[in-house]
Symmetry: C2
Subunit: 198 residues, 2 copies
Amino acid sequence: MDMTQRLSAEDWADAALDALGRGGLPAIAVEPIAARLGTTKGSFYWHFRNRDALIEAALHRWEERGTSQVIEALKAEEGPEAKLRKLFTTVIAFGLSHRIELSLLGSRDHPAVGPVLQRVAERRVTYVRELFEEVGFTPEEAHHRATLGVSIYLGHTQLAHTARAALPENVDALITSAIDALLTAPTPAPPTPPTSPT
Amino acid sequence: MDMTQRLSAEDWADAALDALGRGGLPAIAVEPIAARLGTTKGSFYWHFRNRDALIEAALHRWEERGTSQVIEALKAEEGPEAKLRKLFTTVIAFGLSHRIELSLLGSRDHPAVGPVLQRVAERRVTYVRELFEEVGFTPEEAHHRATLGVSIYLGHTQLAHTARAALPENVDALITSAIDALLTAPTPAPPTPPTSPT
DNA sequence: GTCCAACCATACGGTCCCGTATGGAGGTTG
DNA sequence: CAACCTCCATACGGGACCGTATGGTTGGAC
């Protein structure tokens, strides 16, 4: 590491985010992180009020990384369909962010964690839904397809982390074909009433 | 509760499973559960060797409930297609089991949790895959569709627990139409080449 | 009734973590 | 150089939980 003796609040937040990825919310503990940073609690309680403040700082950092930065990175793609394909093919390849997300699921009852997970989930569905609307689907159809798409993404991530052996070899092709189906195929038995054109 | 002063190991395992649903793995703690049962640690350490033994007992109970019992309950349905529909429509309606599963995801690094999650996930994919094969799909196609189906199920559950507001109103219809697509529609761009040179 | 085994209550020491109190070390400013 | 402000090390008390030790209670065998 660095021999810089003076630390900043951001250093502590980064270390907390790192610990979150390794051991979940309980791993955001002051004394272990202090030892890992090569310092003591004295440093921490100068920069932060208490442990909860560190938790919120780490969650805030994760929320930024998981939503805004991803959506920002997609602005380079042209057209909603290209964005959708790029989104699902790249986002599946992430690693650390997923570890943190799965860890947070176990602590969703924590008052600071639940709202973050809710905002992230809603932001994802909303964004994907808007893309499907831009493609040309009705709001209801777009909402349904977005829900399915996000569900596939979340479920696949969960499977990859718990039973990678149960996944087929060519997962990328599977995801691609699923996006194809979501983008092109008309719903066989659409739950929306048939009197709605377009 | 009951005024029966004498408890059994099963009582402790049930209480541990209950605690697991409320607070995740860290909630399987001897002293709090003892207080909840109206007894003391003296009772626990008579029936169990230590806390890890209690954790394994609770996980074993959950694994049984989540796999064998569900699959057993489906033997009443006739034909693979009916079983698939029944499976996905009923399994989505569960509640406590899902709470436990999401909590366990955050503790998948625990040596006793990871293998259980892996077995459960593999058993689910394998079973659904067999059903798709019975319907008439090739082993590869069945594997792909099973992976997608289980992913949709897992992802939907995750969304329902973190951002229920982001889900459309008629979720049942959405799930039904998704199963329809998985059962009937031929894959638009099948990832398996016809000549299979890999 | 006696006795023994199953079962439980209580007390204790140990570990890990939180948060506070307090006294520095080290650079900065006048 | 002296006062000062920033940042950190150390020490302390407290709480939660684990596991052990030990004695007490209860119910059935005989």
